[in-house]
């Protein structure tokens, strides 16, 4: 008995010891900054003056700030759009990729490239590509009679941003799908063929449930990262024209770095963080439920 208790104690100690480095780092770069932001958000904080406690006033103000609401609305629209475009596209292409062969290796490396380019270089690539004077997109579209101008026309800026993001991130979904499909034993498909199931039925009842785990990861990563989008859009359009492509990260950065009242910027940061967490949590539980019904 005594030795067992001792062994249990030692296990506990080693559990804590092994987790300690992670806890130290994550408390340092995660919790301490978060608490700092929360603390700021409760104060009026102009640089050079003493902080003045302000309760939840900053939050009330943020929720009534039309520019902030506008950025949130645009962010949700953008995230919904890219999910609707990128998820089906990525899954379809991931399924279309052949299982083996020399080209598969090449394809995988090519798919990795957009994911490995610094985010502002992504913006630079697309800016070179779409520049209003002699960008190749502008010239080609002009040939078929479309006066494309990413710097002046809001709808063009918006759709270019969506297409750029699709270019940048669809490879991630393709790779995840490809990886997830390799985990499905071929017997599943054989059984479906014996039952002479339709192609849609095979996809719906064999492939999709098996891909679930990987697709949940894909959706969550896309939601987290699309809410974070900053550099590429900043280079491509600088949020313009007007504030057409001014997303939450741009608005927040403006408030905390360029704004006057750090307290207000911090309240916006907290709301921003909460929105992402709640979204991810809801999506996660919803997607897990879908699987259980099957």
């Amino acid at each position: 008995m005594k030795t067992e208790a001792l062994a249990g104690k030692r296990r506990e100690t080693s559990t804590v010891l092994f987790l300690l480095p992670t806890l130290i780092v994550m408390v340092g770069v995660g919790i301490v900054p978060l608490m700092t932001v929360v603390n700021y958000s409760l104060h009026i904080l102009f640089s050079g003056t003493l902080p003045h406690f302000n309760g939840l006033q900053n939050y009330y103000q943020a929720l009534r700030d039309p520019a902030f609401m506008n950025a949130i609305g645009k962010q949700f629209l953008f995230t919904a759009l890219i999910l609707v475009i990128q998820m089906p596209l990525g899954v379809a292409l991931g399924m279309a990729l052949p299982e083996k062969g020399a080209w598969v290796g090449v394809a995988l490396v090519l798919l990795g490239i957009p994911l490995l380019i610094p985010w502002n270089v992504v913006g630079i690539i697309w800016r070179i590509f779409t520049r209003p004077d002699i960008g190749v997109v502008t010239k080609v579209l002009a040939k078929i009679g479309i006066m494309y101008n990413v710097a002046k026309l809001p709808s063009h800026a918006w759709w270019t941003t969506v297409i750029m993001d699709t270019w940048h991130w669809t490879p991630l979904i393709i790779l995840l799908t490809f990886a997830g499909l390799r985990a499905i034993p071929p017997e599943f498909y054989l059984a479906a063929r014996v039952d002479s199931a339709s192609r849609w039925a095979v996809f719906r009842y064999v492939t999709l449930p098996k891909l679930k785990h990987v697709l949940v990861i894909a959706v969550l990563l896309r939601v987290m990262d699309s809410f974070r989008i900053y550099d590429e859009v900043f280079i491509l359009t600088a949020g313009g024209p007007g504030s057409t492509t001014l997303f939450m990260s741009h608005y927040t950065t403006r408030q905390v770095v360029g704004g006057f009242d750090m307290g207000y910027g911090s309240a916006i940061s907290v709301i921003y963080f909460l929105i992402i967490q709640v979204m991810c949590y809801l999506l996660y539980t919803a997607m897990m439920k879908v699987g259980q019904k099957q």
Binding site: P21, I124, F129, I134, V257, M262
Partner: protein, 265 residues
Amino acid sequence: MKKKYIALIIYFIFLLIPIYWMLNTSFKTNAEINQILTFFPAKFTTGNYIEIFTDPQWQRSFLQTFAYVIINVVITMLVSIPAAYIFSRRNFKAKPHLFFWLLTNRMAPGAAFLVPFLVLFSNLGLMDTLFAVALAHCLFNVPLAIWILEGFISGIPRQIDETAFVDGYGFFRFFFKIFLPLIAPGLSVSAFFAFTFSWVELLMSRTLTSSGVKPITVTLTRSLGAAGWDWGVIAAAGVLTMIPGAVVVFLVRKHMVKGFALGRV
């Protein structure tokens, strides 16, 4: 069957055209870039690359960026491996909560953390150093690395641990001689993700540095002067920033598929 391949070919053309366009631009003179649209460089030049390789500021940027990326990967791995081992092998009450809390950090919007990071690293005297950037990137890289590694470790049967202990292996001998080699694919994949994120991130690395450290992503946008963009040099630098990533992809290509399924294949 045919339709499948046509779709794939169209997609890969879409994927490659922007990359080709940057490559194409990087070998042009600025006069050509700014005046005419050409699908191949009319006057092929390596001048843009030479300018980068001979400019000490570009050189310094590349080296410093490499340095903080590597520091970040080392810290991320050292911290994540033991934690992932515990998450996979031990059961304790707070485990699911702790795991979820770690993941929420991956969701943190960088923009929201800028000011606290400034305050934190100023107080630690780390502002404008390689360590500030490397530590800040841990906020995203440690949770992801633990997530990936936990998947890989859970794929290895517990019996292997137990057999090793029965055979008289001490914990550390087991850990380094048996365990780490077994999860080598997981290690390379999580290191790859950490490398990637740290290499491509701009917002935080820019905020935490000024004159002492110049991340490559910052030097890139520095060229956006009043005289307009030096497109040729920017394109050439863009091509150069793609190379480390391409090399890393090539090195981990065999583990990549497994890694993208986060080890749970």
